[in-house]
């Protein structure tokens, strides 16, 4: 009797777990403020990796504030995954925020992984959504379309400030519309 009950619970558990995963993903996508940021191919010669597109966000960094932040870390900083904060102000300029910095100016606070290599002047902010899965029959076409279509990614910010992918846009339209043209 007890064994049968435990078996039932063990069988229901994965179904509930997967349902909770779906609900959480859907909820994060539907609620929270949405942002659309331009992207570019991670490696312009090979954007396609398997069945997903790999890209990076083209952030509009406030260079002065970012360099100030970089100086604190002797110019080279590779943040822990998901623990850094990026402040986006009202004119959509972004800069990394140290723990002691004020959040007043920030319209949005985005959590991610900051990569600064100041001596060679590269700044990156990784959101953990730098890949977009595509159907295999469209993959090659999308790859070539991405090169000259002003691609953008729309994401939602959940309650913790983490990004959840919403849609890939080309020329301001969802990719699925563009591919049918």
């Amino acid at each position: 009797m007890r064994s049968s009950l435990l078996l039932k619970l063990a069988l229901i558990f994965p179904v509930l777990g997967i349902a909770a995963l779906i609900w959480n993903s859907e909820h994060s996508q539907q609620t929270g403020s949405r942002l659309r940021v331009p992207i570019e191919g991670y490696d312009p010669r090979d954007i396609l990796r398997g069945h997903y597109l790999q890209y990076r966000f083209k952030w509009n960094f406030d260079l002065q504030k970012t360099r100030e932040f970089a100086r604190k870390f002797k110019g080279v900083y590779y943040g822990q995954s998901g623990s850094d904060r990026l402040c986006m102000n009202e004119i959509l300029i972004v800069y990394p925020l140290a723990h002691e910095d004020s959040e007043k100016e920030c319209l949005h606070l985005i959590k991610g992984n900051l990569v600064i290599n100041d001596p060679i002047g590269t700044f990156e902010f990784l959101l953990g959504i730098e890949r977009f899965y595509v159907p295999e029959q469209y993959a090659r076409r999308l790859e070539s379309m991405l090169r000259d279509s002003r691609p953008e990614v729309e994401f939602a910010l959940n309650s913790q400030g983490r990004a959840v992918m919403v849609e890939l846009y080309m020329h301001g339209r969802p990719w699925s519309e563009m591919i049918k043209r």
Binding site: L7, L11, I129, F132
Partner: protein, 365 residues
């Protein structure tokens, strides 16, 4: 039936070692047993193929089907396999129940992959494996098949190694002893719990020992040779602490020498990790020889012939490798090879001269 066994039975029968009645009983027993094995293997292969097929369909990313339909299909499939498991359990059909448990386990990861793909979730592979294990382990504990248990143990092992790079990408290699020690700790737990399916104990124990010995054989010598970068005494301490439960068990069942050899082996892995770096390959090689010589001596004391044989084999292999490490020029290499060869012949002579005693010990065991 196995043709090799068939041939043997005919030989034994013709030599008068067994009579026809015994022969027929053995044939009957083997036919029954192999019938079950073939059925189990077929069920296992079928369930595994379906699971891989579902993952492939997910990977193809069938864009034309709406998101809701895809997600509901995943839930529905999981529910159907769960219902089948319940039904087979109620009917007492153990083999079918085990196969459907494998299907449930497989569809959990395909569902996770599907959700990840639909919502473009990107995270460390460890997260997916950990979630898979978290959701799937309770149902796997109800299986009675070695196949399903070994699949689960493999997933657990991969997850344990992935956790190293997830928790610390830079210094994860300092904790390489943790996954096998965790598996061995789990195997003790399964034994203590007296699980009905004894394959949980066997699979985790086998995997744990293979990986621990593999780490000692591969990583150990490398650590004594190479500069790993940062000395990490904390990781060595944590690894030693993780070996404690196993040490206590060995002390209880294989005398204090068993525990001592485990901690000596841990020392072989962790001393270079904790205290120094640089090229200490000669010292490392001597440590290795001492470790496996003590293991061989313990095997003799415990009358464990297989352990003695394997320890001697590893000693011989290690001795051959020493000359690659120590000697440089052709002359030195030649001398090294001659010395190594002589040493191996000496070990082989000792082994051969004690063969009768060892065989007796083996038989007694």
């Amino acid at each position: 039936m196995n043709p090799y066994l068939q041939k043997k039975l005919t030989n034994w029968s013709e030599s008068g070692l067994i009579n026809d009645e015994t022969r027929n009983r053995i044939v009957d027993y083997e036919n029954r047993r192999s019938g079950i094995n073939v059925l189990m293997a077929a069920l296992f292969m079928g369930a595994l193929t379906i699971s891989i097929g579902i993952v492939s369909i997910v990977a193809a990313n069938w864009h034309e089907i709406p998101k809701l339909v895809k997600l509901l299909s995943a839930i529905l499939l999981l529910s159907i396999f769960s219902a089948l498991t319940y039904l087979f359990n109620k009917q007492g059909r153990q083999s079918y129940k085990d196969a459907s448990i494998l299907l449930v386990f497989g569809s959990i990861i395909s569902s996770i992959a599907l959700v990840g793909q639909i919502y473009h979730l990107e995270s460390h592979l460890f997260n997916s494996f950990a979630l898979w294990l978290m959701l799937g382990t309770p149902i796997v504990l109800f299986n009675g098949s070695k196949y399903v248990t070994y699949v689960w143990t493999t997933v657990l092992t991969i997850c344990a190694y992935l956790s190293l790079s997830r928790l610390s990408p830079e210094s994860g290699h300092h904790f390489l002893a943790l996954p096998p020690l965790t598996l061995l700790g789990l195997s003790l737990l399964f034994m203590k719990m007296k699980m009905e399916n004894h394959f949980f104990h066997r699979a985790t124990s086998l995997c744990g020992w293979i990986l621990l010995i593999g780490s000692i054989l591969v990583m150990g010598p490398l650590r004594w040779r190479n500069d790993l970068g940062v000395v990490n005494a904390w990781s060595a301490l944590i690894n030693f602490l993780a070996a404690m439960p196993l040490g206590i068990y060995l002390n209880k069942h294989y005398k204090w020498q068993g525990a001592a050899i485990l901690f000596l082996a841990m020392g072989f892995l962790e001393i270079p990790n904790a205290f120094f770096h640089g090229d200490l390959k000669v010292l490392g090689a001597l440590y290795f020889l001492l470790l496996f010589s003590l293991l061989a001596a313990l095997a003799l004391k415990l009358e464990h012939k297989k352990l003695f044989d394997y320890s001697c084999l590893l000693l011989a292999i290690r001795i051959i490798f020493i000359y690659f490490e120590v000697f440089g020029s052709l002359l030195q290499t030649g001398i090294g090879l001659v010395m190594s060869g002589l040493f191996i012949l000496f070990v082989a002579w000792i082994w051969h001269s004690k063969k009768d005693i060892l065989w007796k010990l083996g038989e007694r065991r």
